[in-house]
């Protein structure tokens, strides 16, 4: 398993490195149209061909990967912090606070994730600038994705609250926020780390779903969702197999993220 984890790290670093070098590898950018080569098959100039409006698919894949790989971890960080704050404080304070926080968590969990996402996404204006749409999409993922992690963290904090070292700290006169920040929160690090890594592939897949449904990142900015939307017009797999490259890359990246955290128990231990 350790070897697979190493492979996963190498793959992720490679994909992240290549996508960060998008400006060098595809200097023309993701929006440049090659009007003489609309919907062209792969050539030396366009490795993955061009899309229906003549944009280089390889360049769009590089820039789209960069957006997903940079913003999904950012959203995961936001959701993990929210989960730590809500779940951690609820578990630490206990009583009515814990019950209220868990009721709120139950409310969020009682709604299927995609329903919740499209409902909230629909409340925002849909015709916004592309950059704003990217931020709104990933911000929503971060803000709405805390509930299951909060439940885990609440339970972990409740266990910690009753741990011997916390009781000893209390007996030594450490109370309130100092006890939480110095003794409880650092011990939640393994659980926070696990939740952070678990959230990244979930958010990447959620963005892809939203993008395919037309509720994700706005054109002309590319993302995995908008790149996969191209599969919508296909008639058969054999006709244009290069259109599947973004999907294959997505599977590789998501698998790698899951392999990085292939044994959550080990991490949490």
């Amino acid at each position: 398993m350790k070897a697979w984890r190493m492979v996963a790290w190498v793959v992720l670093l490679l994909v992240a490195g290549v996508s960060l070098a998008a400006n060098r590898l595809a200097p023309a950018g993701y929006a440049k149209q090659y009007r003489e080569a609309v919907a062209a098959p792969p050539t030396h100039q366009h490795w993955l061909g061009t899309d229906d409006v003549g944009r280089d698919r390889f360049a769009r894949l590089l820039y789209g990967t960069r957006i997903s790989l940079l913003l999904a971890p950012a959203a995961a960080l936001l959701s993990t912090l929210m989960a730590a704050l809500i779940g951690g404080l609820a578990g630490y304070l206990g009583g009515i606070w814990a019950r209220a926080a868990m009721a709120m968590t139950d409310l969020f969990l009682s709604l299927p994730w995609l329903f919740l996402l499209i409902t909230i996404r629909a409340l925002m204006p849909l015709n916004v600038a592309p950059l704003v749409s990217v931020l709104v999409t990933f911000l929503l993922l971060g803000v709405l994705g805390w509930s299951s992690a909060a439940r885990v963290l609440c339970s972990a904090t409740t266990t910690l609250r009753n741990a011997d070292f916390v009781r000893q700290a209390k007996a030594s006169g450490i109370q309130g926020s100092r006890l939480f920040w110095i003794h409880v929160l650092p011990n939640l690090r393994p659980a926070l780390y696990a939740q952070f890594w678990i959230s990244i592939p979930v958010f990447i897949l959620s963005e892809a779903n939203l993008g395919i449904l037309g509720l994700g990142v706005a054109e002309p900015l590319p993302s995995w969702g908008s790149l996969l939307k191209e599969l919508e017009g296909m008639v058969s797999v054999g006709d244009e197999p290069w259109k599947f490259v973004p999907l294959i890359l997505l599977i590789i990246v998501v698998t790698s993220f899951q392999l990085v955290l292939s044994n959550p128990d080990e991490v949490a231990a």
Binding site: A122, P125, L213
Partner: protein, 287 residues
């Protein structure tokens, strides 16, 4: 005892649905552009009509009054009118619910048939190659966005229910396989096998009763997953169900329709989870 449990679950569901409805109404009220109504720009309207439209919006500006009004209307069975489709929400839901129920039901059936067959054989046989193959299959499926599976089902002309089944399968398989594998390693199962009990008897007398409550809980959660999967499957496969309606409502910012669908889905999810919990606890009580 059972009656009290049922009452408690029922009250929790009602409270959660009311709270969810209030939150949804709050979000709708706070959404950008709530106070603007394109109908007010219609040049054919006279000033009195425009004033009347403005008055309607003003009445809704107080969130508590807005929610109380919506709730009163909902209790009378009136869920309002869809802004984008111009039809009563009741009619839209009545037309589309049967298709979604069929799709979700078939999807769950297909998924659970595959989950139980693969998980039971993987847990029972304990052949690492077979287990690895099943895990790889579920691992690959879990890495595919639900919308891609829906697109592939269109491309390969397979029914939408199969796409829903494939979306749910990997999530359920992992838990179920682990539960069954754990049950097979329990000391009393090993003792039963050592005494020469048949595999069928071990399965139905010693494995299923132990793992059933937790598998039922997973089954309850899978209803929520299946409902979520209806959005991409119905939207991309062109199936006129509730999922497609939710997607259309989201694209056209038809908030009354979207909020009603959201509450409906929340209720179904809560009922499924509570039902699974109740059956699980009854099972535990019997065994």
């Amino acid at each position: 005892m059972l009656g009290r449990k049922l009452a408690r679950h029922g009250l929790a569901i009602i409270a959660m649905a009311l709270l969810g409805g209030f939150l949804a109404a709050t979000l709708v009220r706070l959404a950008p552009g709530f106070n603007t109504d394109e109908a007010q720009l219609d040049p054919r309207l006279n000033s009195a009509s425009v004033q009347a439209l403005k008055q309607v919006r003003a009445d809704q500006s107080n969130i508590f009054r807005f929610y109380a009004h919506s709730l009163r209307r909902a209790l009378r069975g009136d869920l309002g009118v869809s802004l984008s489709l111009g039809q009563p929400v009741n009619d839209l839901l009545r037309e589309r619910i049967p298709l979604t129920l069929r799709l979700v039901g078939m999807g769950l059936l297909l998924s659970w048939a595959a989950v139980m067959a693969l998980a039971l054989s993987a847990a029972r046989l304990r052949i690492s190659a077979y287990d690895g193959l099943a895990t790889t299959l579920s691992g690959t499926l879990v890495c595919l966005p639900a919308a891609v599976l829906a697109l592939l089902s269109v491309l390969w002309n397979v029914p939408g229910a199969l796409a829903i089944g494939l979306i749910i399968f990997p999530r359920d398989y992992r838990y179920t396989r682990n539960l069954l594998a754990k049950a097979y390693t329990r000391p009393h199962v090993l003792a039963a096998r050592a005494r020469g009990l048949g595999e069928g008897r071990i399965l139905f007398w010693h494995i299923i009763p132990v793992a059933a409550p937790q598998i039922l809980a997973v089954a309850g959660v899978s209803v929520s997953l299946a409902l979520g999967a209806t959005i991409p499957v119905e939207a991309l496969c062109g199936l006129a169900g509730v999922g497609q309606l939710a997607w259309q409502a989201a694209l056209s910012r038809d908030l009354p329709l979207l909020v009603n669908i959201t509450i409906l889905v929340t209720l179904v999810t809560l009922l499924a989870n509570s039902g699974a919990d109740l059956i699980g606890s009854m099972w535990r009580g019997q065994s």
